[in-house]
Structure formats: structure tokens, C-alpha cells
């Protein structure tokens, strides 16, 4: 099976979907000639031409809004926000328009747009190139939010997002782009949006997380295994709407739960995960529901001292997992 990086999986999924369906097209800032500032759309302009890989003006609300219009017509736009931090000007179009299109028209219209954006820290990106923005959207029925952790998941989920008949936000961890490699089947497969995935079976403690933190947890689990602690790791993959069933099952399995996000803590995705567990399987728990997250400050600073202080890493995760195991 071919091995590729996280970002290659993105480019591959985009290319294959564009080959498969003429209605799929890309729009965003610098996605054409330059191939994207991270080169996620590298080579697509050359292959599909400027009519299907559109370099747009610097205007995120237009990128989203024009994309929504094209989607209403019946095309399959894949819009890129250059950084997740710059999705803010497009929020009105995403929340007021895309999310509510099907509902407000009583199923007459729909807006099958995919909006991709690189998020996350650890890249010296400072306050405005490091944010996790998913929580802003994770209370908006009509939206789906996908945050894959592996190249395999990336390809299957990005294809699923593009084929989905409703709007999907697809957040890619920018630190994962070139850091993570993995096997990715050459064939055409899709993975189900809305389903979490057990990335490691274990009996002693349950870790529920998503994105880059999945890898930190997997690394830590190997170390814990040396000490006979067996961690069960659930990758949410879709952070909205959450896969309640999988969360409940994973929590019940060990009775000790650690939730991890790279986002700052209060109001993050893992609050909702904790609430689901507290609502449905409180009496199956042997310890309080632990949360490991960034501090409640406005994203991570530029200076390496402060960035490191904020950013999640394997050591922080390992420590939290050990603490929980010892509870």
C-alpha cells in the first residue's frame, strides 16, 4: 500500500474527486498557480485548469458565499480558507446560510459545500495561525465538522465530505501536514462522517480525542503499555455532531476517561463529550472525567517558551494518562 503524508492524502482525495466528478471544483486564495500556501492543491491547477481551480480575491465571506451559491445550483465546491483563523469573516455565510439552507427551505434547497481549513499549533504561527476554531461551529445543526487524524482517514473522509449532500467543515491539522505519514490505499474508498474510530483497544483507561492529539495519545499508550497500563483510544474524527454511541461505549469500557483537546479548555468540544458521558453512563465511571486541554488564553503566543507552554505534546498527554490510571 502506498505510504503518504497527511497533506498528500488531501491532494490525492481532491484530485480523485475532481477526476471522478466534473462538478467538483476548488476555490480559495492562492490555491491555483501557487498550489496553496501549504501546497495542498499542488498540481491541480495544472491538471484541471483555471476554471476548476479558482484563485479568488482575498475575501472569505465571498469564498464561502459564492461557493454556497454554486452548491445550491448543483456543483460541488471545495473552498479553502487559507488558515482556520481566517474563517471568521465567513461565519455569517457558514452559520446563517450553509447550515440552515436545507432546513429553512423545508428540504427544497441544499448547500453541499466542503470548506477546508488548516488549524492547530506548534508551527510558530502565533495567535492567528494556530487556533483551533471548531468549537465556534459545534453548536450549529446543519453543519458537520470533520477533523481527521491520519492520512488514511483524511482520504476517506475528505472524499465523503465532498460527496456529502450537506455542508461539511473539514479541518486539517497543519502540523500534521508533513509530520504524519501512513498507508493509504490507492483505491477509491470513503469513510463514514459522524462515526468515531477506535484507534487502540485497551482495558484500563479510555482516552477520547481527535486530530494531532490522537498521535500523542498513541505514543503515550505505548509507553504506558510497558508498565502494564492498557489504554483504549477513541478518535472522534467527526466532532460535530458527535458519535454519542461510540463515546458512551468507550467510556463504559474502562470506567476511567480522559478527554484531550489542543483547544483551550472552557467551551471546547470535549466539554460536550464530558456532558454526554455524565448524562448517559455516570454510574459506570470509576473516576471523575478528566480533561486535558490548552490554557484558557487566546491561542498560543509566538515566543517558543509560551508556545510550548500552550501546545499539547506527548509528555503532557502521558502524564495525564498515568495520573488517570493511578486514580
Amino acid at each position: 500500500m502506498p505510504v503518504m503524508t497527511y497533506i498528500q492524502a488531501i491532494t490525492t482525495a481532491l484530485r480523485e474527486e475532481m477526476q471522478r466528478d466534473k462538478k467538483v471544483f476548488i476555490l480559495g486564495e492562492d490555491v491555483g498557480k501557487k498550489g496553496g500556501v501549504f501546497r495542498a492543491t499542488d498540481g491541480l491547477y495544472e491538471e484541471f485548469g483555471e476554471d476548476r481551480v479558482l484563485d479568488t480575491p482575498l475575501a472569505e465571506s465571498a469564498i464561502a458565499g459564492v461557493g454556497i451559491g454554486a452548491a445550491m445550483y448543483g456543483l460541488r465546491p471545495v473552498a479553502e480558507m487559507q488558515f482556520a483563523d481566517f474563517i471568521m469573516p465567513a461565519i455569517n455565510q457558514i452559520i446563517s446560510e450553509a447550515a440552515k439552507m436545507r432546513y429553512r427551505s423545508n428540504n427544497d434547497w441544499s448547500a453541499p459545500i466542503t470548506i477546508r481549513a488548516p488549524y492547530g499549533g506548534g508551527v510558530h504561527g502565533a495567535l492567528y495561525h494556530s487556533q483551533s476554531v471548531e468549537a465556534i461551529f459545534a453548536n450549529q445543526p446543519g453543519l458537520k465538522i470533520v477533523m481527521p487524524s491520519t492520512p488514511y482517514d483524511v482520504k476517506g473522509l475528505l472524499k465523503a465530505a465532498i460527496r456529502d449532500n450537506d455542508p461539511v467543515l473539514f479541518f486539517e491539522h497543519k502540523r500534521a501536514y508533513r509530520l504524519l505519514k501512513g498507508e493509504v490505499p490507492a483505491d477509491d474508498y470513503v469513510l463514514p462522517i459522524g462515526k468515531a474510530d477506535v484507534k487502540r483497544e485497551g482495558e484500563d483507561i479510555t482516552v477520547i480525542t481527535y486530530g494531532l492529539c490522537v498521535h500523542f495519545a498513541l505514543q503515550a499508550a505505548e509507553k504506558l503499555a510497558e508498565d502494564g497500563i492498557d489504554a483504549h483510544i477513541l478518535d472522534l474524527r467527526t466532532v460535530y455532531p458527535l458519535d454519542q454511541e461510540a463515546i458512551i461505549e468507550a467510556a463504559k469500557k474502562t470506567g476511567k476517561v480522559l478527554l484531550i483537546t489542543e483547544d483551550n479548555k472552557e467551551g471546547s468540544i470535549i466539554g460536550e463529550v464530558a456532558a454526554i458521558i455524565a448524562e448517559h453512563c455516570l454510574f459506570d465511571l470509576d473516576s471523575p472525567i478528566q480533561r486535558l486541554a490548552g490554557p484558557d488564553i487566546p491561542s498560543m503566543p509566538y515566543a517558543p517558551t509560551m508556545e510550548k507552554f500552550f501546545m499539547m505534546n506527548p509528555d503532557k498527554v502521558e502524564k495525564a494518562m498515568r495520573d488517570l490510571a493511578e486514580y
Binding site: P57, S61, P89, N106
Partner: protein
């Protein structure tokens, strides 16, 4: 020679009559909705009154078989011209299950009907503009020959989406026509406190497209401007901005009291230019309309409206649990 105006534009007497009928239907439906609101039968009404000429004049200049429209909440004239029926509009006003716009989910004035290529609209103003640009982009990509048409108020032309959407259309030279219905007020705010440019049409230059200000009380003037814009769009010459100037004859909505911010005399003055009167005069002068014909027309329209009202009033609401449906594809 008055007589020449519509003929010069290539409009037959019958077409002019059809235009007037659509304008009058919009006006009378609107008036009925206010009555229904004031008698407590519907919770909300928002008017097209004063803007029917612009709405209907523009619509008739479009291809009503294939063009797409993204109307705003006052555009009863546009949606009637594009095939929505009085009954359907009444179902929406009564928030009934069979309302084709939203099944009673949205307030009246939030139009949408796929079969007639009326894009679904929302409340936050101006969001529909980039949608219309997106539809035009799709048409261009698929080498279709339709254009898209989008409207909004002059106040709404100050939203960022106006700027971003029109610049996108200008850069990509897309077949989209934007018509700003300048009715001189945005709720209580008069034009001078709202828009810094002399005319809204002046903004066209920012987007590399032609901009023109026309008399929004004159359906033929609007027809002509939109006709020309459509020809340009169809020829691949890109987008246009049209400003149709008229006046909002009613309060902003049934929730508004306009006496707190504008004088009665100003409204009375504007009523003299009401297109329902002035266009009827033109049609009389050109022998298209007579007292007899007008009486017949009004009777027909009132019949339609009465029937629509009864029908909608007696139609069922969606069931409560229907609220759970269509969040996502099912």
C-alpha cells in the same frame, strides 16, 4: 409620443397589461396581508408597496423560464413574476405546512422555490448576493445561457457581502445582475445617514461594471435597464449594477411605527408617484387600460386573493414534530 415607450422597448400591449396585472396583484396581496395582520390573523407582514414597478419591470426583462433570482424580502413582485402563486404566498403568510418557501418555517418574505429557480433567502441582509454570484459562476462553468439576478435594499448595500460579492463577480466577469431597490429608508435611517456615495449605482465602478440609476416607479425604465444588463451578461460582458429609486410607502414592517422618524407629508408626497397610479395612467393614455378593463382586472385579482386567503387560512400547520426534519439529508 407616450405611446411609443413600451413598443420601442419591444413590449406588446398584452405584455404591458401582464406587467400591470402582476404589479397590482402584488399590491393587493400586500394590502390584504396588512389587514390580516391588523386583525390578528397573521403575526407579521412586510411590504413591497412602492417597489412593485421595479420588481415587475426587472422580472419581465429576464428570461423567466431559465434565469435564477435571489430576491429579498420585499420582492413579492419578483416571485409572482417568476411563478409563485398568490395561494403559495398566503400559505407562507399563515405559516402553513404547504408553504413552498419554507413549509411555514420562515417568516413571510423569506422566499425560495427551487422549481421556479428562486433561491432560498434568509433574514441577515445581503447574504444572497454572493449566492447569486455563485449561481452565475456555475452557469458560466457549465456553459449555460442563463443569468442570475439579485436584489437588496440600499441600506443593505453597506454590508461587506455587497463589496465582496460584486468584486468577485467583476473579477470573473460573471453573468449576474444586481438591482438595489433604493426606497430611501433602511427602517428609520434615511439615505444620507446610510450610504456615503451620492447614488448606490456609483459603487459599480469599484467592481469594474456599469452602474445606472433609474426611476424605480417606472416599470419601463427598469425593464430597459435590466434588459440591457441581461444582454451584456449573455454576451459574456459580465455583471451590472442597477439602482431603482422609489419610496417605501408603508412602515418598515407590521412591527414598525414610522411616525417616529418621518413625516406624514413626506409619505403623501411620495404617494403621488406611486407606480400603481402612474403606470395605470400611462396605460390609459396608451389605450391599454380602460375603466371597464380595470374593473374586470381588480375583480379578478380580488377573487384570486380571497380564494388564496381562505385556502391558506384553512390549511393545516406542519405538525410539531416536523420541526425535527431536514436538518440534514434524510
Amino acid at each position: 409620443m407616450l405611446e411609443n415607450r413600451h413598443r420601442e422597448l419591444g413590449l406588446s400591449d398584452e405584455e404591458v397589461m401582464e406587467m400591470f396585472k402582476t404589479m397590482l396583484l402584488a399590491r393587493k396581496l400586500d394590502e390584504r396581508m396588512w389587514l390580516l395582520n391588523r386583525s390578528g390573523k397573521i403575526p407579521f407582514a412586510i411590504s413591497c408597496q412602492g417597489q412593485e414597478a421595479a420588481q415587475v419591470g426587472a422580472s419581465f426583462a429576464l428570461n423567466r423560464e431559465k434565469d435564477y433570482v435571489a430576491p429579498y424580502y420585499r420582492d413579492m413582485g419578483v416571485v409572482l413574476a417568476f411563478g409563485m402563486t398568490a395561494k403559495e404566498l398566503m400559505l407562507s403568510s399563515f405559516a402553513k405546512a404547504d408553504d413552498p418557501n419554507s413549509g411555514g418555517r420562515q417568516m413571510p418574505g423569506h422566499f425560495g422555490q427551487k422549481k421556479n429557480r428562486i433561491l432560498s433567502g434568509s433574514s441577515p441582509v445581503t447574504t444572497q448576493l454572493p449566492h447569486a454570484v455563485g449561481v452565475a459562476l456555475a452557469g458560466k462553468m457549465e456553459k449555460k445561457d442563463f443569468v442570475s439576478f439579485v436584489t437588496l435594499g440600499e441600506g443593505s448595500s453597506n454590508q461587506g457581502d455587497f463589496h465582496e460579492g460584486l468584486n468577485f463577480a467583476g473579477v470573473y466577469k460573471l453573468p449576474v445582475i444586481t438591482m438595489v431597490e433604493n426606497n430611501k429608508y433602511a427602517i428609520s435611517i434615511p439615505y444620507e445617514r446610510q450610504v456615503a456615495s451620492k447614488n448606490v449605482a456609483d459603487r459599480a465602478e469599484s467592481y469594474g461594471m456599469p452602474g445606472v440609476t433609474v426611476d424605480g416607479n417606472d416599470p419601463l425604465a427598469v425593464y430597459q435597464a435590466v434588459k440591457e444588463a441581461r444582454a451584456r451578461a449573455a454576451a459574456g460582458d459580465g455583471p451590472s449594477l442597477i439602482e431603482a429609486v422609489s419610496y417605501r410607502l408603508t412602515p418598515h414592517s407590521s412591527d414598525d411605527d414610522d411616525s417616529t422618524y418621518r413625516g406624514k407629508s413626506e409619505v403623501e408626497e411620495a404617494r403621488k408617484k406611486d407606480s400603481i397610479i402612474t403606470f395605470a395612467n400611462y396605460m390609459r393614455e396608451t389605450n391599454i387600460l380602460t375603466d371597464d378593463k380595470e374593473k374586470l382586472l381588480v375583480d379578478e385579482i380580488m377573487g384570486i386573493i380571497n380564494e388564496a386567503t381562505d385556502f391558506a387560512e384553512n390549511a393545516p400547520y406542519a405538525e410539531a414534530e416536523h420541526a425535527l426534519k431536514y436538518v440534514y439529508e434524510e
